[in-house]
């Protein structure tokens, strides 16, 4: 039967586009025939801004990319700069960084699962998730005074050492989280309606997923055993015991389950980090490049200099951010400012898979698949 096609404009203001994304859907009744994604509503020209800031000044801008999990952004950029300039980082700083990264991974997955369930119509999970997220955010606040945009990790180490009373609170959080995750699984994972909505929805073969540049937990739901922490180890990850969480079903449910597994794995890493946390300085004190230009040295000047000049060159450095492969391509021309910064954001590349994934499905499935891809629009539009 020939029917008239319906063009539906979903977004940029829509409850379940997680920000300002716009889907142009060509529909046949309730079935999606074609899905076109329009974006850029949150484009702030971060890469251009980076060319006008010194290396250190750009760190706060990275916070604003993926604002749900800002520590990995900080770290990915700082890691690129450190590789470019050859900066050595004290061991304690690396441990503190891993601690924040894994804590932030848990926070990110809590938000992701919460908003996924909210998109499916279950309002409870996001509240439960935010309850635990609040505890983690309080830890972040203790660490650097900010709850979402941290500006904490910087070239040469971290901004400040762990504050007093941080470790006991962290231990409390880890202990609390363990049975909270069981609670979430009881609420969601076994739910018949949830399974109906997630199983065999948004299926994409592993080859297609790779070709579409999917990375991170979303790709590991497609049976690709791939985790940058494992295959290109950075920081202190080689010393830590953990596994890459992989599921083989290639559907939305698998992508969701990878997140749950990863939260458990992150807790496991956190426990090891707490045990292994070495003593020492939280930041490098090495002299490098140009020393501070003007003014008397302040207390902070015992830390790594604020202004420095990496040798001319270019580096592509990537880490396993909670959403996938987050990379920074930094080009130095030997001045105090980067010549070019290119951000490889996981949300942007993961999003390319959506049109293929949802063809022939319905709007509710689009929302389910989109929720499991875990996209933050600040990261897509940059």
């Amino acid at each position: 039967m020939k029917t008239e096609e319906l063009l539906i404009n979903m977004g940029p203001v829509h409850p379940s586009t997680h920000g300002v994304l716009r889907f142009k859907l060509t529909m046949d009744g309730e079935i999606i025939k074609k899905c076109e994604i329009v974006m850029g509503y949150l484009h702030r020209g971060t890469e251009k801004l980076g060319e006008m800031k010194t290396y250190l000044q750009f760190v706060p801008y990275t916070d604003r990319l993926d604002y749900i999990s800002a520590f990995p952004n900080n770290y990915a950029y700082v890691k690129a700069v450190e590789e470019l300039a050859g900066i050595e980082v004290p061991l304690r700083a690396e441990y503190i960084r891993v601690l924040t990264l894994e804590l932030n991974r848990i926070v990110n997955h809590l938000v992701m699962i919460g908003s996924l369930l909210l998109d499916l119509g279950g309002s409870t999970m996001i509240m439960w998730g935010f309850r635990e997220r609040e505890n983690a955010l309080q830890l972040f606040e203790m660490l650097c005074g900010a709850r979402m945009t941290f500006n904490y990790i910087r070239p040469g180490g971290v901004r400040e050492d762990l504050p007093e009373g941080f470790m006991p609170k962290l231990n409390e959080f880890i202990k609390d989280m363990e049975h909270r995750i069981d609670d979430y699984e009881e609420l969601i994972s076994g739910n018949e309606i949830f399974m109906m909505r997630m199983k065999n929805i948004g299926v994409l073969s592993a080859e297609d997923a790779i070709s579409h540049g999917m990375t991170g937990p979303s790709l590991r739901g497609h049976g690709v055993n791939y985790d940058i922490r494992k295959i290109e180890p950075y920081s202190v990850y080689p010393d830590l015991d953990f596994r890459a969480c992989v599921r083989n079903e290639c559907d939305s449910f698998a992508r969701y389950m990878v997140r749950i597994d990863e939260m458990r794995e992150s807790l496991h890493i956190l426990r090891q980090v707490v045990d292994a946390m070495p003593e020492g300085k939280p930041a490098s004190q090495a002299k490098y490049g140009i020393a501070p230009l003007t003014g008397a040295p302040t207390a902070v000047s015992t830390y790594f200099p604020r202004i420095f000049t990496p040798p001319p060159g270019e580096v592509y450095s990537r880490i396993e951010a909670p959403k996938g492969e987050l990379g920074f391509y930094v080009v130095s021309d030997g001045t105090i400012k980067p010549y070019r910064i290119k951000i490889r954001s996981p949300s942007f590349c993961n999003l390319t898979a959506i049109p293929k994934m949802v063809e022939g499905l319905m709007i509710p499935d689009l929302i389910a698949a989109f929720g499991t891809i875990d996209v933050v629009l600040g990261d897509v539009d940059r």
Partner: protein, 166 residues
């Protein structure tokens, strides 16, 4: 074996130089032979096109492809140098689907054209934007205003005087 060297052996005429880009093997290749080499690169198991970066060096453009192989766990960097006057290169969209958007982004922000791309239009900035922001000669003193048209499409204008008419 170093995949960059491998490519050099296979295409001695196309590879300008090989080297290391901070612990990743890199090959600088001629722009005419990108498609042939890309096919070979895909055959060699580099199934993940991680990133396409376009850089404006004032006298030339460089476009850099970062590949990764899930099977071999290897990196490969391909670098192509383009003329500053006519930045055009073949599209890799047919080999890696992610190149679709990465190339559109590079076109949008740096202004490098990709031959054979099925849908080469701006992605982050609205259609009708003047200039490519990540070019070094981009004029930042011009204000550009974006408004929403009747059908939901963006309209760009450099004249902001009529925006506050209500």
């Amino acid at each position: 074996m170093n995949p960059a060297e491998e490519i050099k052996q296979l295409f001695p005429g196309s590879v300008v130089s090989t080297g290391i880009q901070t612990n990743k093997p890199m090959a600088t290749i001629k722009k005419e032979d990108l498609l042939i080499i890309a096919e070979k690169v895909k055959e060699m198991g580099f199934d993940n096109l991680s990133l396409i970066t376009g850089i404006d060096y004032r006298d030339r453009f460089e476009i850099i492809y970062n590949f990764f192989s899930y099977a071999k766990k290897q990196n490969l960097v391909l670098k192509v140098v383009l003329d500053h006057d006519k930045p055009e290169i073949d599209s890799l969209e047919s080999h890696w689907k992610v190149a679709d958007w990465l190339e559109r982004e590079t076109y949008d922000l740096v202004g490098i054209k990709f031959r054979g791309h099925p849908n080469l239009k701006r992605i982050l900035l609205p259609d009708g934007w003047v200039g490519h922001p990540l070019r070094k000669d981009y004029d930042m003193s011009v204000d550009q205003f974006v408004t929403l048209g009747e059908d939901g499409e963006d309209i760009v204008s450099t004249d902001g005087s009529n925006l506050l008419r209500r």
